[in-house]
Structure formats: structure tokens, C-alpha cells
Symmetry: C2
Subunit: 375 residues, 2 copies
């Protein structure tokens, strides 16, 4: 542990709860059976998706914060500053209950897109806690130039091969100053190495790729990062693209996969389940980007002719997932169960999520459909 680059081997040895989803190292999904009924997903079943690697991070144990430094630079006054990881320990901590979701989750529902074949394993609800970046800036008397539009974060992880570009992401400065934390804990425990410990930049409401692990530098800038993973990958065309069509991404014709899309999942019954006729409990989770509450989760057992509202409690955190449940009566035969959330802004899930087809298969938001057999 800790000294091998074979992360899949590490996971297989150490973490039997996780499903190895591809031959790419560090792509491991949260199993549906361990999501159902769980408000918080334990680190032992939390999905892993690392674009690049930090060998000493191959562990569910924490990594030492002593000596960890984070550089702040760019259009700030003073123009350069180094934060010591240890100083964060003594500051006031805040906790966010929040959805952590890979923007490629649901990719397998799009037609013809290569890449990690996520269905629903790339999402979880967790607790991150740490120090608000705004408080760190205030403590050090840092003034951010009003021209700054983006905060670009870098981690200590490195590309998985020679001549691969280093990964970084630019986040909207207003979100970062509003609520980003330098996260030190996951679910109340010191942040595991594999999830970005000792320090991860966490911004509730944004997709997982924007939650930067092993944080080493923050740049306050007027422009977005032009690097591959931010300017070519992890982007959505601004205008619709026909399925299968090629698209050459630029910073101007596309946007980053920033904000989590509205989504609901049926977790019980599981897809393919065999059930007895009669009343069947249908339950799952739903969430959005946290900018508005969910208003309804509707469930249909007859292909959308009729929908019934599921019951749920509104979580305290706007960024947490909603656990919902309802009951349907099913007769013998094969049935599709559908779920669709609607939020207070009137945003819902399209019946055919492929209407948002995009070349890299991000941000799936279609009505969730699952099939069960009743006898």
C-alpha cells in the first residue's frame, strides 16, 4: 500500500465493497446496494475516479498534513502567499453535506460514447468539512482583484504517463469565494489519501472533477485554464450537437462541467429484480446543484401516463441528496419504473436524456428508468 501505482490492485485487496468498472486504474463505483437507504456513503463504498495519480495517495488512511503547503498566486494582493496546511487545523471548520458526482456518471445511457461506462456508480452523498477559503484569505489580509473571474486549482497528483498534460480546473470565483472549503475531513474523519487528503478544494454544487484533490496551488486569474482537461475535456458545447457528431472544443464554443445537473435514481427495487405482485416500495435519491429546493419526485409505473409524488424530507443542506420513497401496485409481468425530479425553479429531467448528447457523455440528466419482473 502506498508505494505501488497499481491502484486497482490496491482497491481489490483492500476494498471489496467497490466495483472495478474498467481497466483504467482508479475507476471504482459505489455499488447500488450500498447506496440504497444510506444518507451518507461510507468511505469504504465511496466511488473513486482519479484522472491522474499520487502514488502515496493509494490509501483510505489519512495523509500527514505537516509540511503540506498551498500557494496562492495571481491577481491578489499580496501577489503570492503560502498557506501551511497545519495552520488550517486551528481555524474554525465548517461542514457541507453534499453530493459528490462524477460528471460522467450516466455516460452509459448515451449512445456511442467511449470512456468510463458509468451508469449510477459515480455518485454519493458525503460530509466534507474544512476551512472556508474566504476565511483563509481574510486571515492573511489577502485582497482579490475585482477583475478575477476564475480560481484555478492544481494538485500534487501527476499524469499517468509521459507527455500527458497535467490536470487542473478553473472554477467561477464567485462560487469559490462564496463557499469553497479547504477540506480536511470526510464524514468526520481525516480525509483519506485516495480522496485527496490531506487537503482538497471542495465547492458544493459542482461536479466531482472540480473538487480538486491534493491541493497545492490556487491561481486567481481573469481567464480560464487553457489546459487539456479543462479546455478540451470536461466541457459541454454551448449549442446542441447531433449524436455522433465530432466537435472541436474551444473555450469560446463550450463551457466547463461545473454545476451538478438535476437527477433522480431508483435504488430499490434494483434493476432486473424479481418481485411478487402487489404493493412494491420504490425508493431512491434525487438532487440538483443546490440553487433551489426539489419540489417533487414523480414516479410512474405505466410509461408516463400517470405519475405519483414520492415522499421525502428536505435535507438541511441544499447540496445534499434527498432520500425519497413511495409505493406502487404492480401486477404480474415486466414493468418499467420511471423517476423524475422537479425543482422549485421548474427544472426537470427530460424523458430522453440523449437530447443533451455531448461528445464526452457528461451531465446525464434523463428520467431514470429501470425494469423489474413481477410474478
Amino acid at each position: 500500500m502506498g508505494d505501488t501505482r497499481n491502484a486497482a490492485g490496491w482497491i481489490e485487496g483492500k476494498n471489496p465493497n467497490l466495483e472495478v468498472l474498467s481497466e483504467v486504474p482508479l475507476v471504482l463505483g459505489t455499488p447500488t446496494r450500498l447506496m440504497a437507504g444510506h444518507r451518507i456513503i461510507d468511505k469504504h463504498s465511496l466511488f473513486v475516479r482519479n484522472i491522474q495519480d499520487l502514488p502515496e495517495g493509494h490509501t483510505l488512511e489519512p495523509r500527514p498534513i505537516e509540511g503540506w503547503e498551498i500557494e496562492l498566486t495571481g491577481l491578489i494582493d499580496p501577489s503570492q502567499l503560502t498557506i501551511q496546511g497545519e495552520e488550517l487545523l486551528a481555524m474554525d471548520q465548517v461542514e457541507h453535506e453534499m453530493v459528490l458526482q462524477c460528471s460522467g456518471n450516466g455516460r452509459s445511457m448515451y449512445d456511442g460514447i467511449p470512456g468510463t461506462p458509468w451508469t449510477q456508480g459515480g455518485v454519493a452523498n458525503v460530509l466534507f468539512s474544512g476551512v472556508p477559503l474566504a476565511a483563509v484569505l481574510e486571515k492573511h489580509g489577502v485582497r482579490v482583484d475585482p477583475q478575477v473571474q476564475y480560481v484555478t486549482g492544481e494538485g500534487k497528483d501527476l499524469p499517468m504517463g509521459r507527455e500527458l498534460p497535467d490536470m487542473e480546473h478553473s472554477l467561477p470565483v464567485w462560487d469559490v469565494l462564496d463557499r469553497s472549503i479547504l477540506a480536511l475531513k470526510l464524514n468526520g474523519e481525516d480525509l483519506p489519501g485516495i480522496h485527496g487528503g490531506p487537503v482538497r478544494l471542495v465547492t458544493p454544487g459542482l461536479f466531482g472533477t472540480m473538487q480538486l484533490k491534493w491541493l497545492s496551488r490556487l491561481r486567481f486569474e481573469t481567464a480560464e485554464s487553457p489546459t487539456f482537461y479543462h479546455a478540451d475535456e470536461y466541457r459541454i458545447p454551448l449549442s446542441p450537437v447531433k449524436p455522433g457528431e465530432r466537435f472541436r472544443f474551444t473555450l469560446e464554443n463550450s463551457r466547463p462541467t461545473w454545476y451538478i445537473r438535476l437527477m433522480s435514481y431508483i435504488l430499490e427495487p434494483e434493476s432486473g429484480a424479481s418481485l411478487s405482485a402487489g404493493p412494491v416500495v420504490v425508493s431512491g435519491v434525487a438532487y440538483n446543484d443546490g440553487t433551489a429546493r426539489l419540489e417533487s419526485v414523480l414516479v410512474s409505473a405505466d410509461g408516463g401516463r400517470n405519475w405519483q409524488s414520492a415522499r421525502f424530507d428536505v435535507p438541511d443542506s441544499p447540496f445534499a441528496w434527498y432520500q425519497w420513497t413511495t409505493q406502487v401496485d404492480l401486477g404480474p409481468g415486466t414493468h418499467e419504473l420511471w423517476a423524475r425530479a422537479i425543482d422549485e425553479l421548474g427544472r426537470s429531467q427530460p424523458l430522453d436524456g440523449s437530447i443533451y448528447w455531448n461528445p464526452n457523455g457528461y451531465e446525464w440528466t434523463g428520467v431514470f428508468k429501470t425494469e423489474v419482473t413481477v410474478s
Copy 2:
């Protein structure tokens, strides 16, 4: 007729189908009973909302096109050109079936907003036909500079009082070049004076205020009009505003009321109707901005616990309204009937439309609610 500025008087004398909604001249609503069951709204029941006045336009008869001129100017080559109204008659005509909706329709559902107290009288489905502006440009060999972002339209109408600003609107150039027509006909007849005849700039998918009557000039420009009705009125703040909060509009902190919002209306039974217990036909219309088809119209008779899908045919024109119908069983008592459309992009109507509260009460898009009594 034609020589008085008292338009309400004209309407009351000539057009008993229309409802006078306020003391302001030229605010007249389409009656619900004349919408229900009608695919196309006749000119005799089509709502009227004129911000300013052209006295000779006080008529449902056509106005002569002979001698009517439209000036094209701005960043075009040649830089100035005059179109003769008569030349349009000889060109190929296209027809758009489309929703015409005042952006203030539904204003009465917002709290505390002055202005025309529209509920649902400011909408109709009509046929406009005329000559595509793109065809006029092509005929005259006009080249539009790629820097042009907006086309600002002016009409021959004048302010209703001294020292009031003249009204004009700027439209996105891509919509104008894509589908704007110089409309000469309404529902197959020469365009009535009161509805902008002889020539109106009509762009399907945009709100009524952007459908410029008595068109006299089009300016191709890089910036939006800074005039009152475009830069202060008929705008929506870019960020949410708390109900009742004051807001100082600028071109930078707001956007024009351009694109029609998703909406559905129950037209039968009418609000306040007394019905007999048993099956009740519920029907109405629904529409959006034409960028995606409607996927569902859902109706609830139990406060949103259960929703059923209404039946409808998809109209040929993406900009037309959908006529939908369904049947619910109602027992004795008072019932609220709710309607909510969802389009193929997953856009729906919020349960509480006030979430989009804005200082001038535009773009109401809430779930439609109506009350009936059953005995």
C-alpha cells in the same frame, strides 16, 4: 375610427368580443371562452397591447402598403437602403403558426406588481405570413457585418404623451436572420391596422413586445438599444430579486424579455365553474419558445399528489400552441385543478411561479391553477 386617440372607445364600439382590462388605452384581452377549443384566434378576439399609438392604426381593417417605406441601416453594406412596402407583395411569402404573448401575461399572479393586471388574456395562437427578412437582404445584395449582434426595430407609432421616450426593441441578430418575417398578413388576411399593418416585424418564439408594429426602420448594430422600453422596461434581472425589492436595471445586470417561457393554461372548465360530480373534461393549451417539443402536459386534481398525462397532437409549427385534453373524476366539493407542461429539454413550470418574481412582473411561468365547485 382612425382619427381618435381613444382606442378603448373604438374597441368598445367595434369589437365587443374583447375585454377592456384597464383604463390605459389599447389594453384589451382575449376572452378565455373564445380561446377554449380554438386552434387559431380570430382578429375579432385577439388581444391588443400597444405601448404607444398610431392614430390611423385604430382599425381592424388593413392599412395601405403603398408608399410605406422601411429603412435598413447600421453595420451593413450598403450602409443604408430603403425597402418599398409594395415590393414585398411580389416576393415569396412564408407563414408561421405561432403564439403571440404579452410578456406581462400572468402578471396578476405575482404579488405587489403594478401594471396591466393580465391573467391569461394576453396570449393567442395566430398565423402570420410575410417575407423573410433574410430574403429581402439577399434580393438587395445586403451584407451584414459579422460584428452585428442586434437588430433594433422602430415603428411609426409615437409615445402617448409629451416627453415620453419612443419605443424600440433590439433582437438577437441570429434569430432575426434565422426566421424574422416582414409580416403582411394575419390569419390569411391583410394585417389589421391595430395589429401593426401594413408591415410588422414578426419573429416566432419571442414575446409580443418584440413583434414590432408599423415597422419603419431596422438598425444592424453591435449594441442593444439604450432606450427606456428596451433598457429599463421589458427586462429581467440576471440574478434573483426578492419579491418587493427595488432594482435598478442596466444592460449589464439584466436581459430583455425575448424568449417565450413554457406555459400551460386550463381553459375548460373555466375558473369558478360549477360542475356536476363525475367525469369532467379538462382541456387547454400549452407552449414554449419553439426550441423543443412539449413532451407532456400533466394535470392534477389533488394538489400534486398524482398527475395524469393529457392527450395532444404535436402541431406542425414548433411555435404554435398545443391543444390538450384529459378527463378527471371529481366528487362533490371544491377542487383545484393544476396543469404543468414539460418539454423535451426537461423544462417545466414551477409550482410557485413567484420564484421568478421580477419588478415588472414579466414571464409568468408557474403551474396553472384553477378552482371549480362540484355538486
